[in-house]
Subunit: 183 residues, 2 copies
DNA sequence: CGACACATGTAACACGTTACATGATTTG
DNA sequence: CAAATCATGTAACGTGTTACATGTGTCG
């Protein structure tokens, strides 16, 4: 994942690790705080696989930089990755979904306990989502956003709205089920 | 992730690994083909962490079963997990998003090359999504679906629709940009 | 002096994923 | 006989994540 993101950035321009972190985070609109260590490990793996190489650029006063650039193999790899769409693009294997699923299936507190876990979770999750959506919209206000980043934030907003719709459905269903059980 | 899914299933009823795989996959509507090996490694980790224990149930003719059940610690852990909503619920760190982002940033083929990668990708991805959505809707037809599974599939459909809206936006933007550049 | 920016990295761990190994029974 | 089902597991690998280590320069 990060692999290809770095490959993509390097395809536009050779860069060193510390710089890649900054560029990447900015491009992501600050939604993916990236540990610098991971950048270096990922770069090391890319180099191991022959997709990038680097040149050491000495600096006086400041530490040396290792400027990475794509090899022909790296460019090929990147192009191939970009040419095939993501397979099975809807991942139900996400914390959000699994959590709601488990909440509606699990027997918390043992049999006979008053089951209020799921509705509580849904309500809390809606608050969480509303907050997340608000923050995304706040970020989108910035007129200086690069277009790709703005696009990304739009995707996030659309997803957040879709999830909120779903959580509303869940809430309604749970209410129904609770009423069913009381009858 | 799978950790908690298994905890949830076990909280309703003690089960053995082979059985867990089947129950889990059915609950997920077949959208997460689960390697049986992963079930066993995950169960081993849960046992290591003291969240589950097991009892060996000998069978004649068939191999022994190791029936797992929650420990009190496991139950606590599960309840805590269920009680807190997913933080930062919208993940932009997904192949889909990163791919589109990288496609719009990367300089494939070097400077001066005719950049048609991104539009091609978007188009292919839309086809992929349309197909995925169709399959989800097909699955939803089944009237025998358990409610939690039906809910899950509804989430998947809503997300797929949101993503498709976004891909349409992307396509329009790319067209715009291309026109801009030609001027 | 202490904190922060610059710049590199290693070590350890969790988790998902695949492939492989074992061995009995049932079914075509 | 071959294949599928039942049932267990191990080994290896990729990747994400965090924490830690190191060292210089600048700024308040």
């Amino acid at each position: 994942m990060l692999r290809y993101a770095l490959l993509g950035l390097l395809s536009a321009e050779p860069r060193y690790g510390y710089e890649l972190k900054a560029v990447f985070e900015e491009l992501l609109g600050g939604t993916w705080p990236l540990n610098i260590g991971q950048v270096y490990t990922t770069l090391a793996r890319l180099e191991r696989d022959g997709l990038v190489r680097c040149e050491v650029v000495p600096q006086d006063l400041l530490p040396d930089r290792k400027v990475y650039f794509l090899t022909p193999e790296g460019e090929t790899e990147l192009q191939e990755w970009l040419s095939r769409p993501t397979q099975g693009p809807i991942h139900l294997r996400e914390e959000l979904f699994i959590k709601v699923l488990v909440a509606s299936v699990a027997e918390v507190g043992g049999p006979g306990s008053t089951e209020v876990g799921a509705p509580n979770l849904i309500a809390a999750q809606r608050r969480e989502h509303v907050q997340a959506l608000a923050q995304i919209q706040r970020l989108r206000q910035d007129p200086a956003l690069p277009r790709p980043t703005a696009l990304l934030l739009e995707a996030a907003a659309l997803r957040a709205e879709a999830d909120l719709k779903w959580l509303a459905v869940c809430e309604r269903e749970m209410g129904d089920r609770k009423r069913d059980e009381q009858l």
